[in-house]
Amino acid sequence: MGTNSWRRMLAFFLAFSLLAVACGGSDDDVASDSDESTSTDTASEDTGSDDAEPEPEADEPEPEADEPEPEPEFVEEVGGDFLLRPENIPSDDQRGGVVVVGYAGAIPHTNGAVSSGYAVNTVGPQVNASLLRYNDAYQPVPYLADSWSIADDGLSVSLELNAEARFHDGEDVTCTDVDFSIETSQANHPFKPMFAPVTGVDGGDTKSCIVNLSQPHPALLIAFSPGLLPIIPEHIFNDGQEMKTHPRNSNDVIGAGPFRLVEFDGSEIVRFEANDDFFLPGLPYLDELIFDLGLDPATVTLGLQTGEFDIAAGDQAHGGQNVIDSQNDPNQRVSNKGFEAIGSIPWIQLNLRDEVLSDVRVRQALAHALDKETFNDVISVGLNNIDQCGPVQRNSPYYNPDGKCYEFDLEKAQALLDEAGYGEGFTITMNQSSANLPSMELIAEMWAEIGVTVEISLDADFPDWIAKTVGEDTQYDATWTTLWNWGDPVIGVNRSYNCDNRVAGVPFSNMSWYCNEELDALLNEAGLEFDEAKRAELYFSAADIINEDVPVIYLSNQVWYQRMQLTLQNPPESIWGFMDSWAEMWVDA
């Protein structure tokens, strides 16, 4: 054999080795993650990219017909009620340290009083404090407010603020700040019903405040949560500038939270240092909390594997291969706890202004023709919960588990279409971004079984989706979106069904253009009812109407998975998940 032949063989061997090293050694499939990385769900609520469904695995094995799918096992629930459990407090030598969060996305600012969304409300509660927090049992816990009481007539709420509560610049947190924060939210926050009944806050520069209401408002307490009402300093923000784009939303931020903001570049890095003057003694446990931003989701997964990141955020881990990969990594743990209040529900939005879709029998037929189980298996590796049969998310106390569900039944679907006069089928368009193409193609295949042809129209980005779906002259038939409940139906449910929320140009409003006055009356009544049992009954009745009318078709309740190193303790696992203070987090090095 000549020298050249040896060289060729050596070159071939080296190339082969390189490929083998790249492909072998682990089950983790970067290529599949990179597929997910391109998922940008332009029509999902809150940042437009947080709720992107992972794309299906091309080589996903077919499930055996008679063999039940093995339930994925997740690590025991170590957090949850950590707000109340003293055993989760680290010893003195375990305090301190740095946690780096791998974050797939950007963060526009830190002020949750002017916008909703996962991004703002994950970093916001680190720098800002709120009046209350909630534990994992939907129970309010003191925070800036040491105590609170609701007047017998429900028309006022008294709050006693923590005497030690101060902003990072040393100014006391007072009722003036509470008043200003609520006013700011009323004027700027997308969730108008949160504080619509609030007429003002008495108390001035004291710590004893009275929130006055025009009507009883049971959702008020949950609206005092970290992700919904950060208390921002009136002396900083009340300068007449536009609040949505106020420079102090991201630069030189002053809050009363457990961390001080020391560096902010919304697409690169957010760095916090412990607030030594935090009003809750001994907290936070960490010295530093760093969000490494703008990462590709595949990079976040790699960073967890290499140990560069302690915890992942913003990587749309609602089922998908990345969750399975992390679960199989002996150095990581995956928790499916936390975020229960978010209530993230992907659904198919139908435009009731369309002549065909205005017939309720057609909508019911489409609901019956949807095989949610297959959809969940193919699109989400079976990790979401398909038992979602109503507008209120299934973890809420207002969800009726016995409510009407549309079981997969093609015969019933065909009969309904025949009855409606569309037995020969019809054609509709479905629009969304290319990230949701697999979902739309699967839906199209399912509906083709009853003769419905779905023409898929791809949207370039979120503004394009708005223009097509909620614009002034919108002509869409069906689209795919994901909406969040946000803790209470008043905040996150009513908006999609109320007659008076049919507003052109406003995303996540009543985009189906659906109206049922009986339903509106029920929702309004429930919004005023303090008796929990009665309130639940009212929401059950409301859900029955919506389920009968089918303005949207629910696909699942997304389960949020948190991926982190085993060394991380007390991850945020309250009902708000990451959208809560991370003051109790620590690292067991």
């Binding site: 390189l18 790249a22 050694g25 784009t245 991201s250 630069n251 590709d296 503004p463 708005i466 995303p507």
Partner: protein
């Protein structure tokens, strides 16, 4: 000198045309930055939407917006970023410029030096295994998209071997002195530069091989060898000087291409450069930032071509004497 002045004037006209074209293209898409902001905020009332559109002049006719924009650019004002709390675009680009320059220059230097050396040696013995290997390497290098190369390198060197970091420009937990910081930076630079440079190594090795093959057949090279000059001297002092001219030409033209490649590589490696900024601006429909980056890229390409012309003259005296039309 007159020719250079004419070229500069032509370039200015070209830049203006590029600004107008970019502006019109970006504004052809439906929706605007306020729509994107509404998505980020979760929802936005029609009143707030209108208020913001008024504030940023987005309700004005496109021609009015264009004249305002061009006027501002001529005064050095690229506007503010709507998605980033009104941060000046020039400030944002300024912050991201250095990482991109560092990445691009490292990748290009790496590609040119290695590509030319490999190509030159391949040309010396065109039928050798090394020469054929170079051809295969060039084909593979061209065929691999930069982002795919990036993931491959990440898997091998970061995940499996654990030698190099996966993202960013620095270790966020880093504590240490100046030298340690530079070492940390160098470690972060290796994989992005390699991903970006690999395509160009392939290109330059192929180009220099072809060019050198031609030059090595020239009479003056034969004369140099006949005079008894050493092979290294013949190759690098005589042949390479002429053989490198096509490389310099392509180098100037590829400045724009390498910035395009940087968008993908910077996104994969979370390298905080202008490319990643452009990607973010597209996602957020941050028009001013996107236009600012496009303007910068156009400017860079035009300047790079001007500089190429000048270097051309230095390398090849015939061009200096006769002008480019005879070159």
């Amino acid at each position: 000198m007159k020719q250079i002045a004419v070229r500069i004037l032509q370039s200015l006209g070209l830049i203006l045309a590029v600004i107008v074209l970019n502006f019109m293209l970006v504004h052809l898409a439906p929706g605007d930055a306020v729509d994107s902001l509404a998505g980020t905020a979760g929802e936005m009332s029609p009143e707030t939407t209108q208020r913001l559109r008024d504030q940023y002049g987005l309700d004005e006719p496109v021609t009015t917006q264009l004249f305002t924009y061009v006027g501002n650019v001529l005064q050095g004002d690229l506007g503010v970023s709507i998605a980033n709390n009104n941060r000046p675009v020039t400030e944002m680009i300024g912050e991201r410029l250095w990482p991109t320059v560092l990445l691009s220059i490292t990748a290009l230097t790496f590609a040119v030096v290695l590509g030319v050396i490999v190509g030159t040696f391949a040309a010396r013995r065109p039928e050798s295994g090394f020469s054929h290997g170079t051809t295969v390497f060039a084909l593979v290098g061209f065929a691999m998209p930069a982002f795919w190369t990036g993931y491959l390198l990440l898997t091998v060197f970061s995940k499996n071997l654990g030698w190099l970091p996966i993202s960013g420009m620095e270790d966020l937990r880093f504590q240490g002195g100046w030298f340690a910081k530079q070492w940390d930076l160098a470690k972060h630079l290796v994989l992005p530069a390699l991903s970006l440079g690999l395509i160009y190594i392939a290109a330059y090795s192929r180009l220099s091989r072809a060019s050198m093959l031609e030059v090595l057949e020239s009479d003056y090279v034969r004369t140099a060898r006949a005079k008894g000059l050493g092979e290294r001297s013949v190759l690098f002092k005589h042949a390479l000087r002429n053989g490198i001219i096509p490389i310099v030409t392509v180098l100037g033209l590829q400045f724009g291409a390498i910035l395009s490649g940087a968008i993908l590589v910077e996104t994969v490696f979370a390298w905080p450069g202008v490319g990643k900024l452009a990607f973010e601006a597209v996602v957020e429909r941050d028009t001013n930032v996107l236009l600012g980056v496009l303007f910068l890229v156009s400017l860079t390409v035009i300047i790079a071509n001007l500089v190429t012309d000048l270097i051309y003259r230095l390398i090849d005296p015939r061009i200096r004497v006769s002008g480019p039309s005879n070159g």
